[in-house]
């Protein structure tokens, strides 16, 4: 076992910290969040230049062939900065799916573009009735001529408004909620018949509800083979979970540090409020929650390339721990800041809201607790 970073990894960490320091001060964050697109093209270019958009891409397609540790370092730093650019959607989810499922020609065309910052993606997998079960796909893809026709809805698709292309899960066979029969398609955001209802989210990012009104795609846009999209999707989701787990650790660390500072500086009754034992213990519980979350964030990232069963179990466990820790740390950070914690002018509330968002992404803690228990059951049987 080795929990240490290599020299290159340490450099990457410094680089991400510098990026956040220089480009993601709270005032800068507010400006970007309030802008039309809710992201900064300038920052995106900078990330491309620094090689971060290519870090996990295969070397054959202009990637740096980095692994989970690099992604974890980047995401944890982005968590601290509340970084708004669509890294998760494009580099983690989108690129993972393309690199593992797209036909060779499509990979050669698109992956280098991602690395260069010239292609942004979004992943459309949630449907309202399906809640967090991504096998509950009602959106249909009907074979027609040499391609398919997509019809149905997707909800709360993150980063869709600024994406160039969207990867969407659709049913090509099988019954409701069957894993078999789900296929993934790459669709142009501007495709005919694709309607976006764009909006802002809780954490000031951008998302959209999507209506597919007989959108035509050709067979070459199929990713991962017909009817066999679900396994690939599960893998990408676990990558997503690992990434947001690291991001959540970064955000929680900031809440932890801010609260710790506040306890030492805020005075009431003539003493720092941190001298009250009840607040000391609360702070300690926040600290423990963060350490537990950090451990499982690390674990899931290390197990991403292992056997699928182990990977899925690790992802479910991490998502539960992250969700619980984030809820406690977020709520207590507000509570211990008193009235100040309630203001929009402190970063505290914004970290808390990002953490609420992360809990919902890919299924909340409750969902993954059930999933974990079911895997346990399957093992025992």
């Amino acid at each position: 076992m080795d929990f240490d970073y290599s020299d290159e990894q340490r450099q990457l960490k410094d680089g991400v910290e510098r990026f956040v320091r220089e480009r993601y001060q709270f005032d800068q964050w507010k400006k970007i969040a309030a802008s039309e697109s809710g992201m900064s093209e300038e920052n995106w270019r900078q990330m491309a230049e620094l090689g971060w958009l290519a870090v996990s891409l295969p070397e054959a397609h202009g990637g740096l062939g980095g692994g989970a540790v690099e992604t974890m370092i980047i995401m944890e730093g982005f968590g601290r900065g509340l970084v708004l650019e669509p890294y998760l959607s494009t580099v983690i989810l989108g690129a993972t799916l393309l690199a593992r499922g797209a036909p060779e020609a499509l990979q050669a065309e698109l992956l280098p573009k991602i690395g260069e910052g010239r292609l942004k993606l979004a992943l459309a997998i949630a449907e309202h009735q399906g809640r967090y079960n991504f096998a509950d796909v009602a959106l249909s893809a009907r074979a027609e001529g040499s391609g398919y026709v997509l019809a149905g809805q997707k909800c709360v698709v993150l980063d869709a408004p600024q994406a160039d292309k969207i990867i969407v899960s659709a049913r090509t066979g099988g019954g409701a909620r069957e894993a078999q029969g789900i296929s993934l398609f790459l669709v142009d955001r501007a495709a005919r018949g694709l309607h976006l209802r764009a909006y802002r989210t809780l954490d000031r990012r951008r998302a959209a509800d999507l209506a597919f009104d007989n959108v035509r795609v050709d067979a070459a846009s199929l990713i991962g083979g017909r009817d066999r999209g679900h396994g690939l999707l599960s893998e990408a989701i676990d990558h997503g979970i690992a990434a947001v787990a690291a991001e959540a650790v970064g955000a929680m660390q900031c809440l932890h540090d801010a609260t710790n500072d506040y306890l030492k500086t805020r005075k009431q009754f003539g003493v720092p409020i941190g001298s009250f034992q009840v607040l000391q213990h609360r702070m300690v519980d926040m600290h423990i929650a963060l350490e537990q979350a950090r451990s499982l964030a690390l674990m899931v990232n290390m197990k991403l390339d292992g056997p699928a069963g182990e990977r899925a179990r690790a992802a479910a466990a991490a998502k539960v721990q992250i969700g619980q820790s984030a809820r406690f740390v977020g709520q207590q950070a507000v509570q211990l800041h008193g009235g100040m914690g309630m203001t929009d002018e402190l970063t505290v509330g914004h970290y808390k809201k990002r953490l609420m968002m992360i809990d919902v992404l890919f299924g909340n803690a409750e969902h993954h607790r059930r999933r974990f228990a079911e895997m346990e059951g399957a093992e025992a049987a």
Binding site: Q129, R131, Q335, G338, M342, T343, E345, M356
Partner: protein, 396 residues
């Protein structure tokens, strides 16, 4: 001992119920049901309806324009108004400053201020907290110095809810810097239109505007606006805090929100079944309902004690702690029930004619959750309430 309502009480309940059904404007009712933020005119409209019926001040004695209701009647009224989606009555006049005025005020003050509270002519706000004085309220530094017939007030209040709408502020000020902290505090009624007052909004994490900073720069306040005696303000302030009793547990409001939560859990689905049939969700729903039930009967027991003349002390802190925690829990579950549709967050804008994103039953819930993080902070934080109970339980 008998936990049932008497026949007279049942008749009273029906009377309240019928009155509400006949008189609550449908648009206001719909907004309350959807937890949409209400504006002053809407709250005033309902207050005026109650006032005309003689129910403007449910908690006050008859001689001051109240109903003179028994504890049980007040409980019934609170239950029914909450169950039938009536707007909450503004607490600052009715539950806070009103009782202070009729208990400690002069005849002239009673005659002038009380009727205007009941009829919704005046709105009040509470000027207690300051940047340096939150939990440690007695350390407040806003000062009032006598100058002829006036006080001249200088200072900075913060977190002042509804100061942007209020006509008056009841304010704790320091009139004596020489004596022990608590003994130098006085209770002043300040006209919010006085020159020298500036109100600045504070936007909270729900992106709403309900709290403010209030700056007082050489504000002249007539000496006749002093309540009771100079230096006794702390006593009145504590009386006021203890007097928030009935409302503080928020049983009615929590019941209404729990009902709405169940409706949502029936409408949302997991794997083709209603969320409410999902065992872990249903059990957590049951848990909070049981806690609310325990609070309801604790509340009734304490109120009965108060009615029979036993003074309530730290018991109110029990109600505050549990009431706020249960309220937060319900709103947390509501956010969870929404699934992905907890994420879109767009404030209603002027001229926006698109319907809100997501199912209608989700409207306002995430904002309520976020603002509700303050339940355990304001009115004396839950840590402070626990300190108060600790003194009682441990006999410190």
């Amino acid at each position: 001992m008998d936990l049932r309502f008497s026949e007279a009480e049942i008749a009273f309940r029906d009377e309240v119920r019928n009155f509400i059904n006949d008189n609550l404007p449908a648009d206001i009712r719909a907004k309350v049901r959807r937890q949409v933020h209400l504006e002053r005119p809407e709250i005033d409209a309902w207050q005026k309806i109650l006032f005309r019926r003689g129910w403007g001040a449910p908690g006050w004695p008859v001689e001051h324009g109240g109903t003179g209701w028994s504890v049980v009647q007040r409980h019934i009224f609170e239950e029914e108004t909450a169950a039938l989606d009536c707007p909450p009555q503004s607490p600052f006049g009715l539950s806070m400053v009103g009782p202070v005025i009729y208990t400690f005020g002069s005849e002239a003050q009673k005659g002038h201020y009380l009727p205007r509270i009941v009829s919704a002519e005046d709105w009040w706000c509470q000027g207690y907290s300051e940047p340096g004085s939150g939990s440690d309220l007695a350390s407040l530094r806003t000062r009032a110095v006598v100058d002829g017939e006036d006080y001249i007030v200088n200072g900075h209040k913060i977190w002042t809810t509804q100061a942007q709408f209020a006509d008056w502020m009841f304010c704790l000020v320091r009139t004596d810097f020489e004596v022990k902290q608590q003994e130098g505090i006085s209770f002043l009624l300040i006209d919010m239109k006085s020159p020298g007052i500036e109100v600045r909004p504070i936007i909270t994490i729900d992106e709403g505007h309900s709290v403010n900073e209030v700056f007082l720069d050489n504000v002249r306040v007539p000496r006749r606006n002093l309540i009771g005696r100079e230096g006794k303000g702390w006593t009145y302030a504590k009386f006021l805090l203890g007097n928030e009793r009935t409302g503080i547990a928020q049983v009615g409001g929590s019941k209404r929100r729990l009902r709405r939560l169940k409706e949502i859990a029936r409408a949302e689905h997991v794997d083709g079944r209603p969320l409410i049939d999902e065992p872990s969700f249903r059990e957590r729903l049951a848990q909070v309902e049981i806690e609310l039930m325990a609070l309801e009967y604790t509340n009734l027991r304490f109120l009965a004690d108060a009615a029979s003349g036993r003074p309530l002390g730290p018991e109110t802190s029990v109600l505050k702690i549990r009431g706020s925690e249960i309220g937060q829990r319900i709103s947390e579950l509501a956010v969870e029930a929404l699934g992905h549709y907890a994420l879109p967050y767009e404030l209603p804008r002027e001229g926006m004619n698109e319907p809100p994103v997501g199912p209608e039953h989700g409207e306002g819930l995430v904002g309520t959750y976020l603002y509700g993080r303050a339940y355990t902070i304001y009115g004396g934080s839950n840590e402070i309430q626990r300190n108060i109970i600790a003194k009682m339980v441990l006999g410190l």
